[in-house]
């Protein structure tokens, strides 16, 4: 699938220097792209918060004290984002929640990207029945509303972090597979591949050493955008009660907890949701930036 970028500023033209690899060019273009850098900074901050959560969070996210006294406090100097039903600090729970969302996001995308790249490369390179088989399979998975399939599987079996990662990973790959297939199809007829074949290199070697490195660019873009998508889906599952077990905080389940009392205690649902938006926004900015940076058409 191809989509235009949403970003206002096209990355400034960069004149390639002698012997520059495409990565060096891309890196320089990315560096000059302010929005993408902003997104990257946000991603780094969030990751740091997730890793160093015990240091960053002002309170314990799980411990309960006198519930009656501390329950549902609005935002105040003591609790920047208020407290939830059990008197737990919302800000701290959001910080710890980053661990769940980012971990699940990264791991699921690693699975989907690996799977998608392999399947797409096989389909694109070999063509024929392999291509048809993989593409039909892709179509089947895509034909079904993904969230419903996720709900079905997770609801029917035990919700656990592992299951969620696996299910998310195993339903995300079609997008990557299509992109890779398209790239491989166009690469296949290029001279350097034909040369490799003429030289008698084995197919596996050609795929792994020559084709895959050249599709990495679009794959990385797809992966970054995929993380955002995965985080939203994981939040959706948690919202429906199909996420991690309490008392571990997850952004989606925090929104669900606050849903019954929107009028009286709006902060419980609003801030975790806002965090989801900002996190996904950050990844999308980085993904867009990478796409623009790696886009060969903007070369001048």
């Amino acid at each position: 699938m191809t989509e235009g970028t949403l970003r206002a500023a096209a990355p400034p033209a960069v004149h390639p220097r002698e012997g520059d690899s495409q990565w060096a060019i891309a890196a320089r273009r990315f560096r000059r792209d302010r929005l993408a850098l902003g997104g990257l900074a946000l991603v780094v901050i969030l990751s740091a918060l997730a890793i160093f959560a015990p240091l960053a969070a002002p309170y314990d996210p799980i411990a309960q004290h006198d519930i009656v006294a501390t329950s549902l406090q609005p935002p105040s100097p003591a609790h920047a984002l208020g407290t939830d039903l059990f008197g737990r600090d919302v800000l701290s729970r959001i910080i710890y929640g980053a661990r769940i969302s980012l971990t699940i996001g990264f791991l699921a995308v690693i699975i989907s990207v690996t799977l998608g790249t392999l399947l797409g490369a096989v389909a694109g390179y070999f063509g024929g029945w392999a291509d048809t088989l993989v593409m039909r399979f892709t179509d089947t998975v895509l034909a079904f509303p993904r969230l419903i399939l996720l709900i079905l599987i997770v609801a029917l079996f035990h919700p656990s972090v592992l299951l969620i990662i696996l299910v998310l990973g195993f339903t995300q790959w079609p997008g990557t597979a299509r992109i890779v297939r398209g790239e491989v199809l166009s690469l296949r007829e290029r001279e350097f591949i034909q040369a490799a074949r003429a030289l008698g290199f084995g197919r596996a070697r050609i795929i792994l050493r020559h084709i895959v490195p050249n599709v990495l660019g679009p794959v990385i873009v797809a992966a970054t955008l995929g993380i955002g998508n995965t985080i939203v889906l994981e939040a959706g599952l948690s919202f429906l009660g199909l996420g991690v077990q309490p008392p571990m905080p997850s952004w989606g389940s925090m929104v669900a907890d606050g849903r019954g009392n929107l009028i009286g205690a709006w902060w419980v649902a609003t801030f975790p949701g806002l965090t989801i938006v900002l996190t996904v926004l950050a990844f999308n900015l980085v993904g867009d930036g990478l796409r623009d940076a790696l886009d060969p058409r903007l070369r001048q």
Partner: protein, 327 residues
């Protein structure tokens, strides 16, 4: 064209069967028992066993699959375990509501998305473009359940509390005294109930449409024939609307195929939060209740709708783009 359509329809059938079989297997593998729902925990085991026998749950997998497939293909979708009435009725009651929501949302999504995308492309790098980019990306990154809750909070709950003039109902399709309204009253009543749910579905996906349209427009504007049109002295408006827009809209149509599953996924949240009695809610409730016949029928209907949507998009694409001929 008819050949193309027939081939696509025939090709879709194994796809749909595959989807249905997949769901059947998933349901079967799952722990938990449909009969468990239909008694309060007080019921003794003999009654429970009888219930299972009545529902045909005591037979082996192959038998059940065979029976189900047979009746499914002849249009008999069985009875809902939870609602104790024909599944066909469950689906028929809910489907129009979801279709209404989906059609309105798709229409709004494309209208808004295309307008915004064109505006951005025409005013590239201007302040409108930048602001709309950020806003668009913001909505694109938003989980629909949170957007639904926020819209409800601001435009329904708080709006009443603060006495705003603009407030929308947050539940159901019509008001309780719908029957007593005038025809015009009925129309506006339905429309006002549609606003919040449809907006939730639209905003997230419209941002995607805008992204894509902008990108397409920018590419098209760079083309030679646009430069020619300008060189010919045609007014800018004609150049934009008549030439660039038409050509860039063509691929935007393909987004329907991509976004349709997303739209239906979104209905699960939107219909529950806004008490909209549609298919999203039906399937979610059915999953919670392990209501296998309903789960399978609604999954099948969703997959069919996606296939039909894709087919319509492809046909539309062919109609709009004179270069394409399907034989």
């Amino acid at each position: 064209m008819t050949g193309f359509i027939t081939r696509r329809v025939l090709g879709a059938i194994p796809l749909l069967l595959a989807v249905a079989t997949l769901i059947f297997i998933v349901l079967d593998l799952a722990p938990g028992d449909p009969a468990a729902q239909y008694f309060n925990p007080n019921v003794p085991p003999e009654v429970y066993e009888q219930l299972r026998r009545n529902l045909g749950l005591d037979q082996p997998l192959a038998t059940r699959y065979g029976k189900w497939l047979g009746s499914f293909l002849t249009g008999d979708f069985g009875y809902s375990f939870a609602q104790n009435r024909p599944v066909a009725n469950v689906v028929l009651d809910a489907l129009p509501n979801t279709l209404l929501l989906a059609v309105v949302a798709i229409g709004a999504m494309f209208v808004v998305g295309v307008l915004v995308g064109v505006l951005q492309a025409v005013r590239q790098h201007g302040w409108a473009d930048r602001i709309l980019s950020v806003i668009g990306l913001f909505f694109y990154s938003m989980p629909s359940f949170w957007l639904a809750l926020m819209l409800m909070l601001v435009f329904s709950l708080k709006a009443h509390q603060w006495g705003w003039p603009i407030a929308f109902p947050a539940t159901g399709i019509t008001s309780f005294d719908y029957e007593f309204l005038s025809p015009w009253g009925k129309f506006t009543d339905r429309l006002s109930h549609l606003v919040l749910p449809a907006t939730t579905l639209t905003l997230v996906l419209a941002a995607g449409v805008a992204r894509y349209t902008r990108g397409q427009m920018l590419e098209v504007i760079r083309q030679d024939y646009i430069r020619t049109a300008r060189a010919k002295g045609l007014p800018e408006r004609t150049v934009v609307l008549k030439h660039a827009l038409r050509n860039s809209l063509i691929p935007v149509v393909t987004l329907v195929g991509l976004y349709l599953p997303l739209l239906f996924s979104g209905t699960v949240f939107v219909e529950t939060i806004f008490s909209w009695p549609g298919m999203g809610r039906v399937i979610f409730d059915a999953i919670s209740q392990r209501d296998a016949p309903v789960i399978m029928a609604t999954s099948f209907v969703f997959a069919t709708l996606v296939v039909i949507g894709n087919l319509l998009a492809d046909v539309l694409y062919a109609v709009v783009d004179p270069r394409i001929r399907y034989d």
